[in-house]
Symmetry: C2
Subunit: 489 residues, 2 copies
């Protein structure tokens, strides 16, 4: 009998080809160990609440009231909810037609899209059109929607930074397109060399692949760098010249841990080039409620904004979004909240009942992340055969691990990629669940791991010292006695 | 200059090809009219809360507490929330790692999947494995995940009932597969003729298309019929014989408006055939929180259960689900709630504080829907040139409109499909926003429209009489004086 359609051998090959290391072998092993009773520190994915970050009170009060609108009629409501949260819940409920239980428009509630447009205008200084803003169940879903419209087959290429967040490689595989890598320069703080970019496009053309879009992740994931204005300008000019769409993954725009290079959106850089230039780039920018000081990953809320996308194309994207009816409505409320308070412009604002608490909570989280970014970088750099760029933004540390030849050999014998081998040993020894650098892409013969900077501040020293101890023992075991690796660093 | 990647001419052709009439021309026109101030009755989509259905109190209390866990420590909490809702919220929060703001496992929270498995076992009388249950952001997303794994290219066919819910046609287009239609028999209460099914497979083979899966929608959308056990058995046997996957869309399983043909799951029918047969069918069954008496569409919660799917395939599906990290967590709580209370087995149970209110609310909704199904069918059947099968289940009425030749001619002149022409006139005259039958598929030369049975009971007579008046005038305008169409009915 021939295989059935859901037998492994007869599945869609694009499904089999795609890889998603953030929840790959390491995560599965960590889950097993957890089941067996081992304490696991899940730093494989940027999931702040899972590592103890508390949700901000105000937005959660608002969403609770929106979910239970009958509470608004309860005479005791003011005993449990501040007046500004009550007012805010009414404001959002009035935007819906039927509350949180009704499908919204497939692009999201019009009122929310208007608030997002206002946020973008405040951020960039240029007006934004709510009709070109689509809400999604998290930013990943938005990236998938856009790539699905762009990719027609294997000759369509997407420029992706390496190391990259594997959402991109996995989605491109799934859609049957071609990933065209451009390498970030670790020795220049993960900077982007324009020559590399041009070479990548040429080499793709050589293989018959036409580059249709370019992805930037700013701040970088897993690499943590913030792109400079000069760099962003070069990228925009390059995309215009090469006639390719720019996809700007800006989900970490509020996670900035230094003052020299603040976040600047690709859209602002484009508009700053003047009315002539600013019409020439097709740009899609992504944002989310999962990151920032909110970290509301489980709610699955996000949006993208389209710039210079023709109306007929916007209609097609709208049509495809309609097939799954609407993004979840509760998270839409979070998105709007987030954008509002993201610039601290609107509720809760100075004088409001909830203002001080909100300020305290949100600043507290960002300040603590800034400290943790520093502790982690310093921690890694104090370890033998480990070097690590500072996390300027985002939520990750991406140290290079200089593996001794004997360790590489041992990995080969075990049938593992060397960084997988290292990360598995780390997991077994310490419970720290990381993602091997090979999951993000790295230069041949160079090895990394990615960890989030999210463990609680008070646990950080213990975690870094547990890492250091493991690493010391690992290196001692695999270094030869001439101290090969130490000489190399 | 060559077109840019997001110019219409250079988009993915599969995107352009797909059609989704539920939010198509009629919906867009209705939205325009609404903006202009016209009162629109949106019966284009099964969206109960948008038409005034109130959410059930108990699950909304639970979710409000889960969203604001700090309320659980508030000394006033018992003034506003019943003790069983408080207990239930604690129960669900204990299942998460980090509350609703943390990503769950990509398949959904293990505790929720366990509760769903218990629900399925109670419903069908056979155990269910939580590891084979995946939660999704609404059932549509689940259908898309499964079709994506099955469809490899245009020679892969999916049997879909006609008329069908256009999620299927749209997704198959998007994935580049082939839809293989099998026609339901309107004159036999939308029954399924097995000969049609066999012919459909043979004709597909003739075109080089191999059928890999079959979709059933039970109760039917848009057709409203409940499949009999005998019919389900034939379908299961057919799928086993033809070696094809059965996809059972059972999202309306709690929307049943008659007692002769209760809902029976495809899974139960399969297992009732005994241990030998029951191992031979690859089956995926879909369910949602959007329908039933919950109608929590905006929350976007759903799940699918896999039967006889090999573990390596389950792993592949898990991997693809991981790319977008996790379904939204709040809706997972609704899913579990729903399954629990779906059989009235668990909370709130007799004796619980919330029991009576819950009973009253949920029964009230179902009884009213039953009445509305009857009112609508009778209303349509009282109209000139309109015939309509009774809505045995689901949320829709799908009357056939016998359009006079002159109306068909007028439609052609206006460049519209005849049923689109009729539905647009209906919309302009009455504000009733329906979906033309051509959006679901219908036999050549036969015309329908789909409307939900969801308008409030107290509005139903007025809506049906507004429809009748419009239809009478329409028919009077386009029938010739020999009364052609009346003779035909």
């Amino acid at each position: 009998m021939s295989p059935k359609a859901l037998d492994y051998d007869s599945l869609n090959e694009n499904v089999k080809k795609c890889q998603y290391a953030v929840r790959g072998e390491l995560y599965l092993r960590a889950s097993e160990l957890q089941k067996e009773g081992k304490k696991i520190i899940f730093t494989n994915v940027g999931n702040p609440h899972a590592l103890g970050q508390k949700p901000l009170t105000f937005p959660r009060q608002v969403i609770a009231l929106c979910q239970s609108p009958f509470l608004l009629d309860d005479p005791n409501v003011e005993l449990m909810f501040p007046a500004d949260a009550i007012e805010r819940a009414k404001h959002y409920l009035a935007m819906t037609s039927g509350g949180l239980g009704a499908y919204s428009d497939s692009r999201g509630l019009p009122g929310i899209r208007k608030e997002i447009a206002e946020f973008i205008e405040r951020r960039d200084g240029y007006p934004s059109d709510p009709e070109l803003i689509f809400l999604t169940d998290g930013a990943s879903k938005g990236v998938m929607q856009i790539l699905n419209v762009i990719i027609r087959g294997q000759n369509d290429g997407i420029l992706v930074p390496v190391p990259q967040y594997p959402l991109y490689s996995a989605t491109i595989s799934l859609l049957g397109g071609s990933l065209v890598p451009y390498y970030l320069d670790e020795s220049a703080n993960w900077g982007l060399d324009m020559n590399n970019l041009r070479d990548a496009v040429q080499q793709a053309a050589f293989r018959g692949v036409t580059v249709r879009a370019m992805v930037i992740i700013n701040p970088g994931n897993p690499t943590g760098q913030c792109l400079s204005i000069a760099n962003l300008k070069e990228i925009v000019q390059f995309c215009i010249r090469e006639n390719i769409v720019l996809m700007a993954d800006e989900v970490y725009q509020q996670n900035i841990y230094q003052d020299e290079r603040p976040f600047i959106s690709a859209r602002k850089v484009l508009f700053d080039m003047g009315p002539q230039m600013s019409k020439q780039l097709q740009l899609v920018s992504f944002h989310t409620v999962s990151k920032g000081y909110w970290g509301e990953c489980g709610q699955r809320g996000g949006y993208y904004e389209m710039t210079n996308i023709p109306p007929e194309t916007v209609d097609e994207i709208y049509k495809v979004a309609s097939i799954s009816l609407s993004p979840n409505v509760p998270a839409q409320i979070f998105v709007s909240h987030r954008t509002f308070s993201g610039l601290m412009v609107n509720p809760p604002k100075p004088g409001d009942i909830s203002y001080l608490k909100f300020e305290q909570e949100s600043k507290g989280i960002l300040e603590s992340l800034r400290k943790r970014a520093r502790m982690m970088t310093d921690g890694f750099n104090s370890c033998r055969n480990v070097v690590c760029n500072f996390t300027e933004g985002a939520m990750y540390s991406f140290p290079q691990i200089r593996l001794p030849p004997k360790a590489i050999e041992a990995a080969k014998k075990a049938g593992k990629h060397p960084d997988v081998f290292y990360c598995l040993k780390l997991l077994e020894a310490t419970g720290i669940s990381t993602v091997p650098g090979s999951g993000f892409g790295q230069k041949e013969g160079v090895f990394h791991l990615r960890t989030t900077i999210l463990p609680a501040e008070e646990d950080m020293l213990a975690i870094m010292s547990s890492f250091k101890k493991f690493n010391e023992e690992f290196m001692a075991q695999y270094e030869d006695h001439q101290g090969y690796s130490r000489l190399c660093t």
